[in-house]
Amino acid sequence: MELDKDNANPTILNPSDLPSRRRESSVKKREDGGTGLFDALVPSYTYLSDPFEPSVSSCDSDDDSVEDIDELEIYDLISSISDPEHPLSLGSLAVVNLPDIHIYPPTSPHSKISTVVVEITPTITHCSLATVIGLGVRVRLEQALPPRFRVDVRVKKGTHSTDEAVNKQLGDKERVAAALENDTLMDVIRRMHATCE
């Protein structure tokens, strides 16, 4: 990986040109405490006594209410992830871009589930690390966001030669779960996340 980089000379953006809310306000540290990956993925659960109860109100006890999270906050969470082969952030390599992040509200008034869609732009069209980058983004968001968010990470259409295949892998819950139990892969992901707040 070190010797044979897929893209030896990527375009690099100046960090001060990148969007961020971090500089405006003090960084909000997310609650995801535990060291176990699954602990972080599945936060402790309080029993919902009445499943028919109108949804949004039961979220009130959570620190993360619906209004708290917007696209810029998602961007802040993932733009600081390091590229697996360059000592640079996904934000500065323009792999993740603010306009390619979308948050969709619940599809029904009875549902509490919002969807975050992140389209990544690999630095070159045949970048073999697109899947790893995508996985790094998905895992980062699943660990940092409250569990009511479903995270869909895709390769931006037309930017990658096998984007359909990469998208299918990144969308497959079972594969992602198994990847989280793969030490080699998790080492790579952990290194990518080391630069995150």
Binding site: V42, Y45, E53, S108, K112, K168, G171
Partner: protein, 461 residues
């Protein structure tokens, strides 16, 4: 809308005829993701596959943990299956992301342990005593089945209990035969898929195996002479096929076909055709769809052919399976549906998945003329309102099918905001059981919880 309850019902409950009511959450829950829960074929027990590398055995009588099976698997346990038709013992197969399967056994006393256990659980009502007894002679890990190259995704015993099918991300389906208690032989390694095999299931009447995959295909397998071979497949329109499950055997005596009086000739013919086809197949897909397929009846089909076991050399017909789309259920899920279950009691289907909803569907005769029951009319109306386009598409696509599926119950946030990985029907076994054949729905979620639900009539205001 003729149903007066429709306008006064709570806004979160659409005007369906049935509702899911929480009965219990099995205690204690797991602290991490649970993948699958399967009811024991005769005892009031379930086994839950957990991501903490264990399998939890819970009682459906007391809703509490009986035993935690650990030590055999090094990674998430993804799948479990109880061996049917055992005598004097319980046998459980478990499949893990560590690419192995394990077999666990527990003696159930002399002769018919089933009835002893059931009556003991119901009568005693003392959970602690119960637990103590079970831990004394709990499940023992007896065999590990190695062979797959990557994560096991599903495993399933054949109805006779003679064969065990396993499938994996390594694209293969393996069939194992029990030689004796501790030894299993690989009977077949089937490589019909181009990607991860997500689910395997057996036909309830024939030695016909089905698998579904990440490659969007459903494949069938049968023994031909001494070899197991692929005998056809179905390409799904819905992306990854997460789950496949056959309809129960003899369902015409229990589902919409039960009421036979005054049926038109066309409907009688349809019932006869379904009989020749045999049990149908339900699938759930990544696109949120639940689809049903039926076998195209051929000259060899029908009950007679089911168990003749004629070897291929003297068989004059092709063994290839030809299956066609029978129905697309009303689309109620907007994310992948990980699991469907077909009630062997009523023929109703339940589905659940990433969107955290549990949906129950029922089949009925399509209403060509307005002569169906009052309740059915109301449902039809609400269906059209809720997804009018869907119904029209279905009708246009399959104008020849005289039946249709409607949603009879729907529950949002069944596991709070978490995904539901598995859903299954089971016999109700607790002391408050309302009838001998009452069923419950058991759901298994990312929150580590296994929940038991009753299905009740909506009380009309």
């Amino acid at each position: 809308m003729t149903d007066p309850s429709a306008s006064s019902s709570p806004s979160t409950t659409p005007p369906y005829s049935l509702q899911l009511t929480p009965l219990s959450t099995l205690q204690p829950p797991s602290s991490s993701r649970t993948w699958q829960t399967k009811p024991h074929p005769s005892l009031p027990l379930v086994a839950t596959a957990c991501s903490d590398h264990t399998v939890r055995i819970y009682s459906l009588t007391s809703f509490t943990l009986v035993q935690t099976l650990s030590g055999a698997h090094k990674r998430s346990v993804r799948t479990v299956s109880w061996k049917p038709n055992t005598r004097g013992e319980s046998v459980l197969a478990t499949g893990s992301f560590d690419s192995s399967a394990a077999i666990w056994r527990r003696q159930e006393g002399v002769g018919r342990g089933e009835e002893d256990f059931t009556s003991r659980g119901v009568r005693s009502g003392n959970d602690e005593d119960d637990d103590d007894e079970e831990e004394d002679d709990g499940f023992d890990f007896t065999t590990i089945l190695d062979g797959h190259e990557s994560e096991l995704k599903s495993l399933s015993w054949s109805p006779s209990g003679h064969l065990l099918a396993t499938c994996s991300r390594d694209k293969s389906v393996w069939i194992w035969e029990e030689v004796d208690e501790e030894n299993y032989e690989t009977v077949a390694v089937l490589q019909e898929h181009d990607a991860d095999v997500k689910c395997v299931a057996w036909h309830p009447e024939e030695e016909l195996l089905v698998s579904s995959s990440y490659d969007d295909w459903v494949k069938f397998y049968r023994e031909d002479g001494d070899d197991w071979v692929g005998v056809g497949g179905i390409e799904s329109e819905g992306g990854t096929v997460w789950w496949v499950e056959f309809e129960g055997s003899g369902m015409k005596e229990r589902d919409f076909r039960k009421a036979r009086e005054g049926l038109s000739e066309g409907r009688e013919e349809w019932i006869a055709m379904l009989e020749r086809s045999g049990p149908r197949l339900a699938t759930s897909s990544d696109d949120g769809g639940v689809r049903i397929y039926r076998r195209k009846p051929s000259e060899r089909s029908g009950n007679a052919a089911a168990s003749t076991g004629i070897p291929s050399i003297i068989r004059s017909f092709s063994i290839d399976e030809e299956w066609v789309l029978d129905a697309v259920l009303p689309k109620r899920h907007d994310r992948p549906v990980y699991s469907v279950s077909w009630s062997k009691r009523t023929g109703m289907i339940v589905s659940a998945g990433s969107d955290g909803k549990i949906v129950v569907y029922k089949e009925r005769w399509r209403e060509a003329k307005k002569q169906q029951s009052h309740e059915a009319e109301t449902k039809a109306e609400s269906d059209v309102q809720a997804d009018g386009e869907q119904v029209t598409t279905e009708a246009g696509k399959k104008p020849d099918t005289p039946t249709e599926w409607s949603v009879v119950a729907e529950l949002y946030s069944a596991h709070d905001v978490f995904e539901i990985n598995h859903v299954v029907w089971a016999h109700r076994r607790d002391k408050d059981c309302r009838s001998e054949d009452e069923e419950v729905i058991i759901s298994t979620g990312d929150d580590g919880e296994v929940k038991v639900w009753t299905l009740d009539e909506v009380v009309k205001a």
